[in-house]
Amino acid sequence: MSENYVPKSAVGKWFNDRLPLLNLIYGHLLPYPTPKNLNYWWTFGGILTFCLVTQIITGLVLAMHYVADADLAFASVEHIMRDVNYGWLLRYIHSNGASLFFMAVYIHMARSIFYGSYKEPRELIWIIGVFIFLLMIATAFMGYVLPWGQMSFWGATVITNLFSAIPLVGESVTNWLWGGYAVGSPLLTRFFTLHYLMPFLIFALVILHVWALHVPGNNNPEGINVVQGSQDTVPFHPHYVVKDMFALVVFLIVFAGFVFFVPNLLGHTDNYIEANPLQTPEHIVPEWYFLPFYAILRAVPDKLGGVILMISAIAILAFLPWLDTSKVRSAKYRPLYRQFVWLFFANVILLGYLGAQTADGLFLIIGRIATVYYFAHFIIILPLLGYIEKTKPLPKSLSEPVLSPEERQMKAAASGASA
């Protein structure tokens, strides 16, 4: 794939002879052979990269005006909204950007799950992805604490308190995290530091993610192996550069709709009330993108058990390449999996809905069933499906349609006649 790149300018050539950086970038972006049949679900990788860069840039400017101190944080955010030039725009992009980032990553993950992109030989791409997802969760959670509103404060209190469930050392660990005996300035300062740091770690992981992707090349909706450079592939540029750009602009229209017309729709009104340690809000709910995991946390009556289950719900994703025992990647050729994968998505959405309700009565019971089903999908259904499912015949290449047995016979007869 790395056809050698010869820079046009003298400076470029001088530079590239000494450090073949341009070579590297060129090889990965321009002629990179890509399956010709990728659909729009494949555009979310590029959209995610855009989201990450946007969060980093807006975040950097916000950090120039933000003050990480329990007494000043709330007012400093309002100062950004009121007095900093286009501060309101930066903040609304950053806060809505986080939500859209998660929307995109969930679609991206669902795409991988539907088309079996996590399977051999792409296991590592997937696992790096799971780590990216973990870091995103941590980053978004800590970011939400920074404006120091009521939800910030109480969200931080609820989540950091989970550490007190660790046997024996729980309380010491929690106090160590807090840097004191309650959630306050020390915690806010360290959250700010970590929130600043983690996107750069994500960035590093994204580089590994794409590097690992470019070894086997992209999966595709048919889920079959594609010979790089064959007639089944097209160069990344311009085919996918332009297609990704089109998708990105459509995504941006939705993004701008949120930022400019309903910038607070996805947020919680309580976060415009300054943090008050003496007054607990009626309902403490996390941001929408954490709701499924929140529902799993609350499905267990025991705190430690809940925490373990919630962490497992994410960790189990890393084992997906081995839990799914089927050799066929794409759900298109797996009639049973195709049913179960939609059920799985429906179940996650249901968990999200339950995460926003009070955990009692009927909601709690459904929440428990949905939690059990979530894990059953990975531990029971996926391993079994590989053995009992009768998959449909796969096409040999992207250019050849799948032939039914009769068609195959006819084709054989035709070629026999002409011989």
Partner: protein, 258 residues
């Protein structure tokens, strides 16, 4: 596949609905919804209403409620009440603030200037509570964004004082309000007929005052609302055009790939 896919779609809708409803808690009456000029993609504030709203705030609400995040200079700024500079200076000068310590270290009072924050009615929260039977009148700067229902809720709350049903017992300093959470609130009714005499001659009915002060508080919570919508409209128009161009470029590029 149909069934599981439909299930997925149903749950997705349910979730979207519940996210926007997350905050609706407690048994509360659905607030009234007057026509707000600032709604809609090209919404703007009514200048005159904002100016009257400032009058209602200073003459009625500011006796109990602070607005710590606003300065008198904000009253001049584009997209707000847009008072003239001399008007705003006079408005600021009607309040007194502590001056910087003089050469002898004494702190005297001086009239407020444009760069000063809105003067608070109380020195501290304790004083505010003491003056209001233990309830603290919250700061109103971002109030509209801090309550579910926003402007509609505030407007309704200010007008929602009715006689309590006979089976409801109210403690001292607690009032019955249809729109308050649990129908009880520690703020008395404040908007009576002619509670202010509008300088522009508008008749000061409770509805008029509630409307004006709510408009003013909406601006206070979101002072860049007009610019935001104006820019947003341009951005989206631009993106729409760009998306059409890219759509056709993309078609062109792919037309020979089968």
């Amino acid at each position: 596949m149909k069934i599981s896919k439909n299930l997925f779609a149903t749950f997705l809708l349910l979730l979207c609905f519940s996210i926007t409803q997350l905050h609706a808690a407690g048994e509360m009456k659905e607030p009234m919804h007057p026509d707000w000029s600032f709604e809609g993609p090209l919404g703007k504030f009514e200048r005159a209403s904002l100016q009257r709203g400032y009058q209602v705030y200073t003459e009625v609400c500011s006796g109990c409620h602070s607005m710590n995040l606003l300065s008198y200079r904000n009253l001049i700024e584009e997209g707000g009440p847009e008072f003239s500079e001399s008007q705003a200076k006079a408005m600021a000068a009607a309040f007194e603030v502590k001056a910087a310590p003089n050469a002898d270290g004494e702190v005297e009072m001086r009239p407020a200037i444009l760069s000063d924050k809105f003067v608070s009615p109380y020195e501290n929260e304790q004083q505010g509570r003491a003056a209001n039977g233990g309830a603290y009148p919250p700061d109103l700067s971002v109030m509209v964004k801090a309550r579910h229902g926003g402007a509609d809720y505030l407007y309704s709350l200010l007008l929602g004082y009715v006689d309590a049903p006979s089976d409801i017992k109210l403690d001292d300093g607690v009032y019955y309000n249809e729109y308050a959470k649990g129908q009880k609130i520690a703020m008395p009714q404040v908007l009576y007929e002619d509670a202010v005499v509008y300088t522009d001659g508008t008749t000061a009915t409770p509805e008029q005052m509630a409307r004006d002060v709510t408009m003013f508080l909406t601006w206070a919570a979101e002072p860049k609302l007009e610019a935001r919508k104006r820019i947003g409209f341009k951005v989206i128009s631009y993106l729409l055009i760009l998306s059409v161009l890219l759509y056709f470029t993309n078609r062109q590029i792919w037309k020979d790939t089968h």
